[in-house]
Amino acid sequence: MSRCLADRSIDHVVLERGEVANTWKTERWDSLRLLTPNWQSRLPGYGYEGDDPDGFRTMPETIGFIERYAEVISAPVQTGTTVTSVRGTDDGYIVATDQGDWRCRTVVIASGAFAIPRIPAVAEAVPSSIAMLTPKEYRNPEQLASGGVLVVGASASGTQIAAEIHRSGRPVTLALGEHVRVPRVYRGKDIKWWMDRAGVLDEFYTDVDNVDRVRNVPSLQLTGSDDRHTLDLNSLTDVGVKLLGRIAAINEGQALFSGALRNLAEMSDLKMNRLLDRIDEWVAENALDGEVPPPHRLEPTRVEESPPLSLDLRSGEIRTIVWATGFRPDHSWLDMPVFDRKGRIKHDGGVVEAAGMYLMGIPFLRRRKSSLIDGAGDDARDLSAHLAAYLDGTSPLPPPAVRASAVG
């Protein structure tokens, strides 16, 4: 966004509570690599120039990439500045920080979608003998007591952490809800390459059936590794990870799990196959069938005949629980009547219901790729155009009710 604003000669400042790439430096586990290939981190005026376009950046490489971008575009970043509140005024906003106040006509909220771990309420009933953590605090298996680990959640974080912990000799049980399975490599190309080429990642928020639903779909089960292996429930079962349904309740130390595991696996397989069908159709439409390997389908997800429905958390078998159950944004500093009844900012493709306020970097903000590094560019181009029109007084004004309360 800073780059797009600079291109339009709009004077701005980027406030950062820590350092550039702060979250990448402080809230990620050691072995994590980007889920998207190197070539796919395309930012306005900046892309990958190394000799491994299909590789996956490590965390130090990701941090370096973002730091270099900030330098290349000479972003006016003020680090070490924590925003404490944003309030509306007659002609814009007052942004209060621990380093003094800013007055501005427009505000772009780009503080991230993954700030606060979302932990289900049943966690309160976990016996105190069991250590609990989230992917935000998790660094590596050595941090955990020896013994069994229950990982809750099977998106990218949950499956990667489950695999790594299980390899360390701590037997992992994975309790899972809805998840999205994909092969890492399909017909000789990375799945992200196909999704990019076939237009899947460019799908627009106004073209989907139910935008609230797609904004809450968990991240793809993927891992970035040198051998480009597929990480899914079958690969976890192969190494001995035990699968359970969604955690439903904890009664007197007994954790109870949903009996709907088979349907979750079936839904995920069907969804994956629809994506692969779509890729195959795109290949056929573009007459590429002779140029890439033929289609194939993955083995259906294996679910044991009668998965256990309970687990005694007081038996000592489980020593640690990792809640990989997702994150939510932290907008607690935003003193504006722009939230819906579930505490989410109300917006139309990133245009918030308060004049001159914009949101970025949340899942499916404007496009399927909006939460990817690769999605920031197109969203920033669109929203900076809207922002510039607003400053020029040429954009349509929001509904009067919202404007009035924003001024108050």
Partner: protein, 191 residues
């Protein structure tokens, strides 16, 4: 009457489900979530032996008392192998019927929403049970089902994967499927 969805050949799809009304209700209730709070009720009278008769008529929803078009009655009893008189289905069979009915209603609704014409839908439901549990022979055996298997035969203008996806989505949205696969706090009081 709302306009039915159209298929690729422009033949109106009609599974007898008014999806537009359901979608309108979803939209309206997401604005007024308190109206979405429903209470379902059944009354049950002991007749004799293991025979009982349940009736349903009123329920609460959309902020007020509602009524079925008529009172519906369900006789329940146990079969003669249990030395009962078999005046009705066993309660566990009523649970299985409830599951199948809920999933089947969901299949019709999801198919209508997806523009898929159903020609026939039939289900077989089986619930395995070791009655050593209910007879108190072995306390390690639970009273309830060991597992439930539902098998659908569906004829529809759709691919096998599209049909599977409808059945999967129906499970995802089914109240009875959720009630059976997840624990529910149950309070039983005596006046």
């Amino acid at each position: 009457m709302s306009t039915p969805e159209m298929s690729a050949t422009d033949t109106p799809i009609d599974n007898g489900v008014n999806v537009n009304a359901l979608l309108d209700a979803r939209e309206a209730l997401s604005e007024t979530p308190e109206a979405a709070k429903f209470t379902w009720r059944a009354k049950c009278e002991w007749v004799n032996g293991t025979h009982s008769r349940s009736t349903v008529e009123g329920f609460f929803g959309l902020g007020e008392e509602q009524k079925h078009r008529a009172q519906f009655t369900f006789d329940a009893d146990h079969p003669e192998v249990f030395a009962s008189e078999d005046h009705g289905a066993t309660p566990v069979e009523i649970v299985l019927a409830g599951l199948a009915s809920c999933l089947t209603a969901g299949i019709a609704s999801v198919a209508q929403h997806r523009g898929i014409q159903l020609k026939s839908v039939s289900a077989t439901v089986e619930g395995g049970m070791d009655i050593q549990g209910i007879l108190g022979i072995d306390s390690d055996v639970r009273n309830g089902f060991e597992g439930i298997k539902v098998t659908y035969n569906i004829d529809a203008d759709a691919t096998p994967d599209e049909i599977k996806a409808i059945v999967a989505q129906s499970q995802k949205r089914s109240a009875v499927f959720d009630a059976i696969t997840n624990p529910t706090n149950v309070t039983v009081e005596v006046n």
